[in-house]
Amino acid sequence: MTVKMKTSLSDDGRSLSKRDELSQSVRSRLPFLLVGLFCVAGLMGPVAQATLGGSPDSIKSDRESNAKTQARKFSAVKTDKQGAFEFKEYSHASHRVRQYYSGDKVFAVTCSGRTQCDHKQLLGAYSDEFDAELQKSRALHRGLRAPIQISSEHLTGSIVSNGRIFISKIVLKDAAPADFVLEEMP
């Protein structure tokens, strides 16, 4: 599976250490570079976390990052199960965000709320792929409110709305367990 990864705080250490093109001298300075990255990120405010495809802990940092910079009241992150699948969830006044994970990887995200969810935030490294698919689906001339279908190289899912509530369900195909059924996701 080839996945284009963007810079992200939760998995930077892992991805940077794998890059062959980094010189040994740079490798030796990696801890300092990472500290620097964290400082810059802190100054810049909220950064899109590696949610889909990332660590299950990313939802916690995602929630904390948003809560620090926004006036909304955020719930604590809770962990629960839907059938056989574990998820982490938080909510605020306008949305509820849920990440399903298996082992150390988030394989599906769902979001529902009064307005469209911030898919860039939710999908992290896959947001560009998602955007391309979104534009393709929107070009099908299905009116203002026909469901958006997502079916790209790595993603499958949908966004639906009746004008009053928006529901997004996106799955990372190759990472989802074999017995995972999209329909079972609230």
Binding site: Q70, L134, R142, R145, N162, I165, L182
Partner: protein
């Protein structure tokens, strides 16, 4: 094609009248002989008219036809004509009901524009216009000619980012006087309404409102939302701390500095019909069944009516109708193929629905989940069964209403569309995964569907919105 022609021949041999091809859904038990045949006209593909993204017809449609009165007649003061398809129709216009409105600067009767081709949408609330809509012949009102709405304590002007699945509508909010209905827009008038000018210039690429829609994406000049809600966001957006990312105070225009703010409901973009003096408790949309599917590429226009008010005049009585209340999320219940969607469907544990069921003129097909074969090419995402699929769903109100079985059918509309038909009764599309049932525009053919606004009563006070009735 041969097999298709055979099916058509069989349908004729079966004694089914072609004129019945637009019979609309019914609430009786499905029987094959009662279902309308597939639209058979226009099997030979004709070249479509060139795409013309913005139509300006000059308010040429002035008659109103309904399911009960298919012969178009003069519009009453509380009636607005609807059209689906015209000589400039494109794929963008499939099942897209459009009307026209006269808009004036507040207090002026001369600084005005008549704007045609406005999509009538029962799934949103408020009037939204593309800037190019103001360039109609005879218009003396520019898109930036409406005074901007300001919010107490803010120095800038109000902008909005309103989400549609087809993209985000972004631009300034202005105040206007609106005229609709009757002869030459003299029927009803409302003053000082907050309307949305969908001008994404300056917002592209910004984080304020990603993927803004523009006129070039559509073949209409704007959207008139006459849905269940009175405001397009309501009390949720009145609280700044909710940080809803819907309303912004912008200084220096949309490319200047924009800050997410809470906006009092009386300043928000508002369903203009809800502000009328009397006919303000809802609307009804009606299309005659007999004209649907009759187009052969020569007369593709289908006419209908939007009637303002519910039980306020003799032409909007609900005496013989059934009530289907909606819940706070704009859902009722639909059961299809054993799955329950909407208000009686699954929730996320916090009471929020995880599926949807609703009636929506802004969706150009009936969207639901099934294993029916899908189309390719220009109808990708729609169902294209080999023959007609006779189907049914059960509709029930969110609270206290009887269940009704609604019969409908889905067919391959490729040939009809190629022939220039844009009113397609049998158009169904996929939901991809089972998260809802969207009763789109085909549901309106052969019916009069009432939309009751939130907290407004009708039916001698027995009905209070939000609800649908038909």
């Amino acid at each position: 094609m041969n097999s298709r022609l055979s099916r058509i021949a069989a349908s004729f041999l079966g004694g089914l009248a072609l004129s019945a091809c637009s019979g609309g859904g019914s609430s009786s038990a499905p029987t094959p002989s009662a279902l309308p045949p597939i639209c058979t006209k226009g099997l030979a593909a004709k070249s479509r008219p060139p795409q013309n993204p913005i139509k300006v017809l000059g308010g040429s449609v002035t008659t109103c036809a309904t399911a009960a009165n298919p012969t178009a007649s003069t519009c009453a003061n509380n009636q607005m004509p609807l059209v689906i398809g015209d000589t400039t129709a494109t794929y963008y216009d499939i099942n897209s009901p459009q009307t026209s409105v006269k808009i004036c600067a507040p207090g002026s009767t001369t600084n005005c524009a008549i704007i045609d081709s406005i999509l009538v949408d029962t799934g949103s609330s408020g009037l939204r216009l593309f800037p190019s809509a103001f360039s109609s012949a005879g218009s003396t009102l520019a898109s930036n000619g409406l005074p901007g709405v300001t919010v107490f304590g803010q120095t800038g002007t109000l902008y909005e980012c309103q989400g549609f699945l087809s993209g985000n509508a972004f631009g300034p909010v202005g105040k206007a006087d609106l005229y609709f209905g009757g002869t030459n827009y003299t029927g009803e008038m409302v003053s000082g309404v907050s309307v949305h000018v969908m001008d994404p210039s300056g917002a592209n690429g910004s984080s304020i409102c990603p993927n803004p829609i523009s006129a070039s994406q559509f073949n209409f000049n704007g959207i008139m939302g006459v849905g269940l809600a009175v405001q397009d966001c309501g009390s949720f957006c009145a609280v700044g701390a909710n940080n809803a990312d819907v309303y912004f105070n912008c200084t220096g225009g949309s490319s200047g500095t924009c800050t997410n703010i809470g906006v009092p409901t009386n300043k928000q973009v508002t369903n203009p019909i809800a502000l009328l003096a009397t006919d303000n408790n809802g609307v009804s949309m009606s299309f005659p069944a007999a004209t649907v599917c009759s187009g052969d590429g020569e007369t593709p226009l289908v006419a209908g009516t939007l009637t303002l008010g519910i039980d306020t005049q003799t032409n909007n009585s609900t005496s013989a109708l059934n009530l289907y209340p909606a819940d706070q999320f704009g859902n009722f219940t639909t059961v299809y193929n054993g799955a329950t969607y909407g208000s009686a469907g699954a929730t996320d544990g916090s009471g929020n629905p995880t599926t949807l069921a609703f009636i929506d003129s802004g969706s150009n097909g009936l969207f639901f989940t099934d294993k029916i074969a899908q189309c390719g090419s220009n109808l990708q995402g729609f169902y294209c069964p080999a023959g007609r699929e006779a189907l049914s769903g059960v509709i029930k109100g969110a609270t206290g209403s009887a269940a009704a079985t609604v019969n409908f059918d889905v067919a391959d509309n490729t040939n009809a569309l190629n022939a220039g038909d844009y009113a397609l009764l049998n158009l169904g599309g996929s939901f991809n995964n089972p998260t809802g049932f969207d009763w789109g525009l085909p549901f309106f053919y052969g019916r009069t569907v009432f939309v009751g606004f939130v907290n407004k009563s009708a039916h001698s006070g027995a009905w209070t919105g939000p609800y649908w009735a038909f």
